[in-house]
């Protein structure tokens, strides 16, 4: 009873709440880092160094007036933020934050579940998340959101192909689709896949940026051209849901890249005996440390790179990333067969 029901429920509650808190603080971190990159201070008023800013933001967004445009498609308009938020959260079900540990004399795994198609589950749930953006743009019944959602759908489909093809080469290395299994495979082979599959790593990172609509691929919400893109007509908490979903997706991408390429919860060179003292640091600390590096990288990229033009984005996806992904897959396959 406790093992099959109470503990999973507790884990779900903890992961969901931790995610939402992490997401609000990601927003603060992003504002701070970009401010520092531009020689500003960022939010400073609410609390010391502005650390209570997320609370103020949340209160503001919740009490703001919620407007639905008169000509909007009411049902779809209401559903769109929910559709983009739910996939962003349910992906956390298969992300392993650590191995099985003993807690209060009880075996507890630091992941909600480990299904044998974990990676596919993440990819497929993420592909459903696109609907939030597309439907928001359509239901608003307004030019700019519609343009944004057309861009979003084209962009997401193109990059999904490249990312999924690249993930296949990782699966070839690990021989399993389970997220826990992929980390175990990296342990057994004694190498993080970032060293075995550097091209795949870069491809997944670029694809992840595009899939989360982050700069330099943030065309669906390009402020200068589309006045806010797909969420132009949204206000209050519904707008906040889109915002939360975007940041939750960033954390998902960071966690997935960490799991696939940086050995998840493993310390560096997990099989090298002289480095075994690194196991003194708890597994989940390694995981969060690595994920945080990627989150920081996302913000850093946004502060550094200008946005792509739309045709450049498509050319990059179809003419460069997909052929490279296929080439990488073929080479991985040949090497795998020969060894």
């Amino acid at each position: 009873m406790v093992d099959s029901f109470v503990i999973p429920l507790l884990k779900i509650v903890i992961v969901l709440n931790a995610t939402l808190v992490a997401v609000t603080y990601m927003v603060l971190l992003e504002r701070k880092v970009i401010a520092w990159a531009q020689s500003r201070l960022g939010p400073m008023r609410v609390g010391p160094y502005g650390i209570l800013q997320p609370v103020a933001d949340a209160v503001k967004l919740m009490i703001k007036e919620d407007i639905t445009p008169v000509r909007a498609d009411r049902w779809v308009f209401t559903a769109a933020p929910i559709i983009s938020m739910v996939p962003a959260l349910i992906v956390y079900a298969v992300i392993p934050f650590g191995p099985k540990i003993t807690l209060f004399g009880r075996q507890v795994s630091l992941y909600i579940t480990d299904i044998n198609v974990g990676l596919l589950y993440i990819v497929s749930v993420a592909s459903v998340g696109v609907y939030g953006i597309i439907l928001a743009g359509y239901a608003s019944n307004s030019k700019f959101p519609l343009l944004a959602s057309l861009r979003a759908s084209a962009q997401l489909i193109s990059y999904e192909v490249a990312v999924t093809l690249t993930l296949v080469s990782v699966i070839l290395m690990s021989g399993t689709l389970s997220m826990v299994g992929i980390v175990d495979a990296q342990y057994n082979q004694g190498v993080w896949y970032i060293f075995a599959q550097p091209i795949a790593f870069v491809l997944v990172l670029i694809g992840g940026l595009a899939e989360t609509n982050r700069a330099p691929f943030d065309l669906p919400e390009a402020e200068q051209e589309l006045t806010g893109g797909f969420h132009t007509e949204y206000s209050g908490m519904r707008f906040a849901l889109f915002f939360l979903a975007e940041y939750a997706n960033m954390i998902v991408v960071s966690s997935v890249v960490t799991t696939l390429f940086l050995g998840g919860w493993l310390p560096p060179f997990p099989n090298t005996a002289p480095l075994h003292f690194l196991y003194a640091i708890p597994s989940w600390v390694w995981f969060f440390l690595k994920s945080f590096c990627f989150l920081y990288l996302f913000i850093w990229i946004r502060a550094t790179l200008p946005r792509y033009r739309y045709d450049q984005l498509m050319a990059l996806g179809w003419k460069f990333l997909i052929p490279l992904a296929i080439a990488n897959l073929v080479v991985t396959g040949i090497v795998k067969v020969l060894l």
Partner: protein, 172 residues
């Protein structure tokens, strides 16, 4: 018991959404019901213990193909009622006849397989698959027992792809 309840609930949802897909007037709503339908089909696969198939169902159909549908629907923007699309030259009731034929065929298949379970299925269930995982089993069966259907299906997709390219780009 719980499994039966889940099965009937999911099946009812699949059929209900399928009816909504063809009865809704707004094309975008109709496409959305199609997505819901696909998601419930995936749920049915999970109920059967075929997680790999469920994930692929969502990834390919709900996540890929229907996004393209939406893309087209939004670009074409069919705001007119369905009556405006009807072809005045089409007076025959071929559609009805064809759907009745398909229905009869499906009923016959169901009745036949209910009367005597297919030997092929029983054989497949007994055939030793030397692998444990869901994905591995699907892969094993596709490349051993069902190799020829698999290759034919991939040929079909290739032909469709080449056809689309030829149609879209008249001079290459």
């Amino acid at each position: 018991m719980a499994e039966a309840i889940a099965f009937y609930f999911i099946s009812a949802c699949i059929l209900g959404f399928a009816v909504l897909v063809i009865s809704t007037r707004d094309t975008v709503h109709s496409v959305l019901f199609l997505v819901l339908d696909f998601l419930f089909v995936a749920a049915l696969y999970v109920l059967l213990g075929a997680q790999f198939l469920a994930a692929i169902q969502i990834l390919v159909y709900a996540g890929g193909i229907v996004v393209l549908y939406l893309f087209v629907v939004m670009l074409v923007n069919l705001k007119r009622p369905p009556e405006a699309h009807s072809d005045p030259h089409r007076k025959t009731n071929w559609g009805f006849a064809l759907s009745i034929a398909v229905l009869v065929e499906l009923a016959a298949v169901a009745a036949y397989s209910y009367a005597r379970p297919a030997p092929a299925l029983a054989a497949a269930a007994q055939a030793p698959v030397p692998l444990s995982g869901n994905t591995e089993q699907v892969g094993w069966l596709l490349y051993t027992s069902y190799l020829i259907p698999f290759e034919i299906a991939s040929m079909l997709l290739l032909v469709a792809m080449i056809g689309a390219i030829v149609l879209a780009k008249r001079e290459l």
